[in-house]
Chain length 338, copies 2
DNA sequence: GTGAAAGCGCTAACAG
DNA sequence: CTGTTAGCGCTTTCAC
């Protein structure tokens, strides 16, 4: 049975209020009383009842994070890294993280409603923003606090941190062009994802600068998993006039692409180049290692969380809209066109 | 501003009590009143205040999950899969998941204390049990509910679900022996981990059956990351009398081992065999694909969560101790000894 | 069938 | 400096 304020008060023969005040760090408590209370609280292992405190303060010191996952085996390191960033930052500020896993759709929104309506959390972290995002619409409508990892082309203003995917993909595409590649394929992320827009724009910008373009048969779509990268690449390799380089919407699909290519006996980085996006930990250690666009997921997680906490605390944000420049990392999976 | 019971009561001109009872599904409410209340609640978007409800009911409908992570880039898919299992099962029972990321140590225990003491959660999920596990000791001492993923050799009884790592590694080792391997190396998990004990036992059992053993220079330890698998394998390959097969404590280290081997120009599955443990999603798609011991992480996550919810609801567990038989999956990373 | 009142554990305004 | 009192929003006796 947990220790309550009442127990300490009884034990010390003083009132509950005094105990509360002593522990709350109020100045109008006798020095000696405070000492006794603090000692007793420590000895008895007192922790304030969270529900009672929340009910009174109308704050939960909890942040909601709903992972828009698809299936049981969602192995994208992106999630673990964001989670680590959020979790570590939150705990530094004495905040807890309430997490749910809900695939995009009605059940997802229902969780947002439930958490917001029941005041379960003080605010939300949104990730993988979508071009038309029901979460953003709902949360801004009902005036709930949130900060997003990623932008959205919707006509709603909200605070976010994102990376410049256009610039990242532009650089990646330029890299391939400079290596002599002209027939470049792109395995795009799902088109609902906001970042799909920027990444595509970067590719097209670079291609157009060089009088090239993305032919429809080389512009395909995956679902961000290795499997889809593998599948789509197999299809690409079966084309009459197959590409000499493959840009991928994320690293996971790029790794799938590498698998598919290796299976046909071709050498990645020599016969065919592959580029990813994200720079997940494994990218540096795959064989061949992956040329990719680095995105500081963990740090962005921390930053997004910090911004949300500032909003919750009522502080002003210095910057509401942050777009970071990603770093392009050249490794072994790209080489001159043959 | 969220809708409260009071608002509905006012709106309908009836008492708060009646609204509460109507929504609570009590039988002593006029049929018509109930209808009106339900309609109003839906229209007004009512969700009960979680803190108030919890304070009253002395239940939080929340499960605590503290991820014992080490650094920012912890990409082990194990975590995402467990999390998905826990999250999906919990939401099916109307439970929420409170998550924290704390490296093993005092801060980890502090989080357990805080959450248990402040009644923030109804129970805990423990993962990656350790041979001497401070979490288990603390939680069983203070009588908190928990269910673990994995056993522990401590002298404490608690409910768990785990896999038979000994059997799994025995099968894996036998497989190598049957392929003619005699000089087998083992990259072990950290020795604090309870599963390190079982996995090692399985290896030794199989070796001894064949009059072989694990020489100290081939018995090394990693920290479960690809990097460590890579590093240790490099070291193994530099030995005068290097092994013909490498068993790894998990898939991540096995993937690192494959990278290291490929970097020296050797062919995995032909010149050198590699075996992992876990069967993470990527294992089937790596190149070469990984021979490994399959562990149904997602399902175990669900099951552990279900057991905890049963305990919370005061139901009896049919089985307190579950040890599942893992499946051995032969793929391309193993082949005959040369 | 419905309402008034008490209380979950805590904080905060107000006396003394 | 300390104690009494009220109230956060809800559930749950207990009267009517």
């Amino acid at each position: 049975m947990p220790v309550r304020l009442k127990d300490i008060a009884q034990h010390l023969g003083i009132s509950i209020t005094t105990v509360s005040r002593a522990l709350g760090g109020y100045s109008d408590v006798a020095h000696e009383t405070r000492q006794r209370v603090e000692k007793a609280a420590l000895e008895m292992g007192y922790y304030p009842d969270a529900s009672a405190q929340k009910l009174q303060k109308q704050r939960t010191d909890t942040i909601g994070f709903i992972i828009p996952t698809f299936g049981p085996r969602f192995a994208d390191p992106f999630w673990s890294e964001v989670l680590a960033g959020l979790g570590n930052e939150a705990s530094q500020h004495g905040m807890d993280l309430l997490v749910a896993t809900n695939p995009p759709g009605p059940s997802e929104i229902e969780t947002y409603q439930r958490w917001a309506g029941s005041r379960r959390v003080d605010g939300f972290i949104l990730v993988r923003t979508r071009r038309d995002d029901a979460r953003i619409r709902y949360l801004s409508n009902c005036g709930a606090l949130f900060v997003a990892y990623g932008r959205s082309e919707m006509d709603v203003d909200f605070p976010y941190v994102g990376v410049d995917g256009q610039r990242g993909m532009y650089t990646a595409t330029r890299h391939l062009i400079d290596l002599g590649h002209r027939r470049i394929a792109y395995i795009a992320p799902p088109s609902e994802a906001q970042f799909s827009v920027h990444r595509l724009a970067g590719i097209q910008e670079a291609l157009q600068e060089n009088g090239a373009s993305l032919p429809p048969e080389l512009h395909l779509q995956g679902d961000l998993t290795q499997e889809s990268g593998y599948r789509v690449t197999k299809w690409l390799l079966a084309l009459d006039h197959s590409p000499t380089a493959v840009l991928c919407g994320n690293d996971l699909m790029a790794l799938g692409a590498i698998s598919a290519i290796q299976e046909t006996g071709l050498i990645v980085g020599r016969d065919l180049s592959v580029v990813g996006f994200d720079d997940i930990p494994w990218a540096a250690h795959s064989h061949p290692s992956l040329t990719t666009v680095h995105q500081p997921v963990y740090e962005i997680g921390r930053r997004v969380c910090r911004m949300l906490i500032q909003r919750i605390r009522g502080e002003d944000l210095q910057e509401r809209h942050i777009v970071l420049q990603p770093k392009f990392v050249v490794r072994e999976s790209t080489g001159p066109a043959t």
